[in-house]
Structures are given as C-alpha cells and as structure tokens.
Symmetry: C2
Subunit: 297 residues, 2 copies
C-alpha cells in the first residue's frame, strides 16, 4: 500500500472502505472479495500526491486490543512512526514492518529528544513527503503535549489529523473495576498531572479535594507523599479510598488499594513502578465487587 492521499482523499477512501460494502464483505467472511474491493478503492483514490502529512495518534493504555480502527490503519500505512516511551511493545509490534521507527523518549526528567526537537522532526519528516504517525500513549490531547506538536505543524502548514485514544484513566478504571463516576459516589472526575517541578506540585489542592469527585493522577508516583499530604491538608478525609493501577490493561496489571493515609507506604513497600495511575475517591470501594480482569502474571 504505497498510495498517498491528501487528508480529504484519504478520508473518502476510508469512509468508502469501512462504512460501505467492503466492511460488509469482511464481516460476512468474504475476505477475498473484500480485499479485491479494497484494492480497487485504493486504485481509484491513488491520484496526485501533494506531500507528507502527520497523524497524531493515541495508542491507548497498553492493551493492543484497545487500539481504535483508525489508529491501527494509520500505523499500517505509515512511512515513519515517532513514538514515546508510554507506547507498549505489543502496540508497536503492530506498526507496518517497513516503517521507520523513531523513539522520542520522554522519560521523566530525561527527555530523550527535547520537545522542540520532536516538533521540528515531525515537520521535517512531513516535508520529505512521508506519511508520519506520531504515536503517543493514551490520548494525545490529555497530558500528551499533542497540542504543542501540532501547533508547530499548523504554523508550518503541514496537513495533520488527530486520532483520540483510550486515555489511561478510562483504560485503567475499566480493567480495575472502578467506575470513574457513579450516581452514589462521584458526580465529576478530574484528571491532573502529578508531574513535579523543582520538587513540588503547583496544583490547586482545594479545588481537587472535593467530596463526590474522583481524582485521577497521571504521573503521580514520584510525588505520592506530597499529593496524599496536600489532599488531606485541604479537606479530604485520611480514610479516602485510593488505588494504584500499575501497567493497567496489560497482562502485568497490578492494582493496589488503600487510603490517602496508607498509599505512600504501599508505594514504597510494594515496589510500585511507573507507569502507574492513581485513582482517589469513594468509587475505589466498588472494585471489591466489580473487579473482573485478573491477569495471571
């Protein structure tokens, strides 16, 4: 599949392929016919190619089974894939074999490539006429700095699209049996990053520490002492239930529950490692009844 489309053409192509008769053929098991129909749709659309483009794609929380169709398709068409540390290996294994892979890093405090370099790398690759997939763990618009990357693309006039992914909060919540909202326990859910700057977290703790609100911390492990202390200091009971979801949705998933008071000890004693999502609120108590995913690992 070497055809390259403008975004509009590509959209038409896939609309035709997925929402029309080709999908029907696939679903009714007529694979050969489907493949032939797909091929001829491809020929039809294989017109002028005007240049490269970038797809900012959410890779979801880890389980490759939670990729969207759009994400996998773009991964299978890519000339080059620029990926972060949080993209799981089973997801990466689904990238088109011939595609170039570029690791853009983003480990806490030691970015392999500075953000500005990533932004310009994407521009350069697209200018070379490549179909670029910028693959990010979770959802690109929720703590992914995806906005910054496409701002540069937009400024440089590079065509782009954005493909949402299952964000870690949704993936971990479902696989841990913890509803993020619930009529009896939480009428809102807030996502916040626990990323530290200069040894502290500059957050509005009072606004976070609300009854009937679930709080989800992304990247909160290093600052676990601070965040439990601050939430308690700003009004949440020390007995507020809390959960750690390590490697959520993967065969290595591990869920540990406790309270704001016990959580720091659990992290330190339990050898909890990133990536770990922290869920705080009464909804955590539901896990006892609602857990269903218990990988053997």
């Amino acid at each position: 599949m070497k055809a390259r489309f403008k975004p509009a053409e590509r959209r038409r192509f896939w609309e035709r392929a997925l929402q029309g008769p080709i999908a029907e053929l696939v679903f009714s098991g007529r694979d050969a016919e489907a493949r032939q129909a797909l091929q001829s749709a491809l020929e039809d659309t294989r017109l002028a190619f005007s240049g490269g483009e970038v797809s900012l794609v959410g890779a979801g929380p880890g389980d490759p089974d939670l990729l969207t169709f759009r994400a996998l398709r773009l991964m299978q068409q890519a000339d080059v894939v620029v990926y972060d540390r949080l993209v799981s290996q089973p997801v990466l294994d689904l990238v088109r074999l011939e595609a170039e892979r570029i690791y853009a890093g983003k480990e806490r405090a030691k970015h392999t490539l500075p953000q500005e370099d990533i932004n310009h790398l994407l521009v350069r690759l697209a200018r070379e006429g490549k179909r670029v997939v910028r693959l990010k763990g979770g959802d690109p618009f929720i703590f992914g700095r995806g906005g910054e990357e496409i701002e540069t693309l937009a400024a440089e006039g590079i065509p782009f699209q954005v493909v949402p992914g299952i964000t870690a909060a949704a993936g971990c919540a479902s696989y841990a049996g913890i509803p993020l909202t619930h009529r009896d326990y939480a009428q809102s859910v807030v996502f916040v990053t626990g990323h530290m700057q200069d040894g502290s977290m500059n957050l509005n703790w009072r606004a976070l520490a609300q009854p009937r609100q679930t709080i989800v911390f992304y990247m909160g492990l290093v600052g676990i002492d601070i965040l439990c202390r601050e939430l308690t200091a700003h009004g949440l009971p020390a007995a507020t239930p809390a959960a750690l979801v390590q490697a959520g949705t993967t065969p290595q998933q591990r869920v540990l529950t406790g309270t704001l008071e016990s959580l720091p000890g659990i992290v330190h004693d339990g050898g909890v490692k990133a990536p770990t999502l922290i869920i705080i609120g009464e909804v955590v108590t539901l896990r006892d009844r609602l857990k269903w995913f218990e990988p053997a690992a």
Copy 2:
C-alpha cells in the same frame, strides 16, 4: 461463530488470535491462512459452555472508526445487544446481523427502560445463556451508569467484562482541534454532568471555576444558562472561551465557539441540539489554529 467461552477461555482465545501469528497473517495480507488459523484456535477453545455473560462495551463518540478492536469483536459475537440512544447508527450497523437488538433508551427525563429494568434485563439474558453486549455511547465508566449495571450482575454472579471506549470529551476534543490539557493553558481537566434535577444543578461551582482548568460538560445543553451564570458568579471571567461540539466526530459535527457570556445566546439562536458537548477554558482558543476536521455536511 457459535462457540461460547468462559471469560478466561475467551481471553486466551483472543490473546492467541490477536497478539500472535494470526494477527501477523492478517496484517501481511494472508487472509485465507489467517482465517484457517482462527478457525482452528476456535475449535481448540470450543470446550464446555457454562452460561451466558455480559460485556459492558463503550461504543465511543459516534465515528465507527473510533471503535476499539475489542468492542467490534464482541459486537460481532453477540447473541443480543442492549444499546442506548447515544450509540450512533453507523456503530449499530456493525453489530452481528443475527444478533437481537434491544433499545434501552435513556433520553433525558424519559428513560425508555428504567435503570433497574435494564439491570435485570441483562441478568435475565445472561441467565438464558446468551452472550450479551451492553453497548453504551462513549465510555461505560464515565457518566454511563455502567457501574450500576454491573453491580447487579456481580451481585447475581453473572460473568462480565468492561471494555473502555473513547469518551465524548476525548473524541470531540480531538475532532474539534481543542487539546483538553496544555502546558500553557490547562494543567487539569474535569468532566462533569450538566444533567438537571428539579430545575437546578447541584454542583460545586467554586471547585469547577478554576484558572488553568478545562471543564467539560456532558449533557449540559438544557442547563446552559445556569452553568454559564454559575461559573461566572464563582469567579471565571465572562470572557472565558467556550465551545459547543454537536454530534462530535460524525459527518454532522458542528462546532460553535464563544465565551461564557455569549454561549447561552449561541445555543438558543443556533438551534443547537443534543448530543452536544461543552468545553470551557482557554484551550478553546487553540481551535483557530488546530482545527482539521471540517466535514462537508
């Protein structure tokens, strides 16, 4: 595909099918071999069948291309699908043809089936030995009352699983070009329901009305006057940018932007209809540069 598995068997089957050699065959275009391998994996797992089960599945925001692989697979295996109003027609069209479809409604203020009836319907169907898919718009654990439905299942000892979906906030944000978090504008994002009870919204407005926080209202259209007024009364500037995303991610997507001050007028004058997501915060200003999805419709 009439085989019915226990959850653990099914999991093993799909792990084998999707993360192993079968996936490789599919992706390298060897469809006939893939189908044969799939069939034999199916035979291997087609062992004892102990009873029905329920999959609580997120159908995403509307674009069928945003379904996860796990979601579509379960839809294609279902004996019966119980769906809500917010599940889009193109998504429903991908349900297995032979599956029974039951509409469970959930229009604002006139639930077609009361929640308790839905809960017990799922139990009854599973007890009949059926593979039941409970299909919900967006993500089942974010304002889907999914927790309540599986609480009944858990209490009755029915096997279940939960499949996260792209929640409306993530889907609409990506397709409207509005990052939900951004280093320069928002360090947190809060999802809240604007659903009214007795003509008012019982929310903690002060906690919502924070600088550097994006607020996403689900089902906020009817209460638009109240929510704009309360957020302003509790400290957000009247000029705070806000967006309405109607039918987000679909060919009918329509995005209208304004401010907390102008939003009620825009809703009333613009004939804005549900489903519409409301995004409030400085990030909305990014749309001017980052919009990319402009359906012809």
